[in-house]
Symmetry: C2
Subunit: 120 residues, 2 copies
Amino acid sequence: MERSTIQKQAVLEYLKGVKTHPSAEIIFSAVRKKLPTISHGTIYRILNTLKQKGEIIEVAKEPARFDADTSPHAHFVCQDCGKIYDVFDKNISLINKKTKIGKVQNFQIYLYGQCRKCGN
Amino acid sequence: MERSTIQKQAVLEYLKGVKTHPSAEIIFSAVRKKLPTISHGTIYRILNTLKQKGEIIEVAKEPARFDADTSPHAHFVCQDCGKIYDVFDKNISLINKKTKIGKVQNFQIYLYGQCRKCGN
DNA sequence: ATCGGTGCAAATCCTTTGCATTTCC
DNA sequence: GGAAATGCAAAGGATTTGCACCGAT
């Protein structure tokens, strides 16, 4: 059976408190302030577990970044500053759940551009 | 000025001839049959150049996989077999080019599920 | 007391990079 | 001839893993 630990609690609590889609490294640094001995391995193991359970989603790669908001939404990635913004667009619901290829269980939408702070 | 080399030609020619969204490693192995001395470094450098020029797109990560079809389309990723299928859905055109956050230059849509071959 | 979780370090995977050599214009 | 590209090998970043110890149930 899966156990509850202070490490898991700290990671999930931190993720639920931010809207910045932090990387494993950022999560590591943040959680380390509360739990000074937590390791990278533990961070990665916890993130993988939470992802599998569907409690968080991965919203970017290289490095992976995480989001505790699992409601259907897209992400705007600023190509200048790297920030990731949530996009709740009504058209997202039009994504077909059944395609000719197979049944869609979940999806990811990334919009790439420049955010307002970075011009245009 | 950028030069034309047999390595670049071979990579682009290979990518245009397949619909499988190969990884750098697969491209490396395939192109190596024609050019036995080509290296990983060269493959990665060429792929990055083609990507910057917009002649190919990257359609997955870890490892990166590539597609010489740059028309707007989504990708269905089978979570069982790992295959990536092109999805030309008409609703894709509804993706907003302007959002409150910024101007969208391009986008990526990933649909995750099981393909027909893998059941359901 | 058990056995799942953690911490640490080493290992692995993918990708990039430095540099000497080759090759295209 | 000279700049750009290649090949090779080494380095780099992100993530995973093996194992001894710790701690939740």
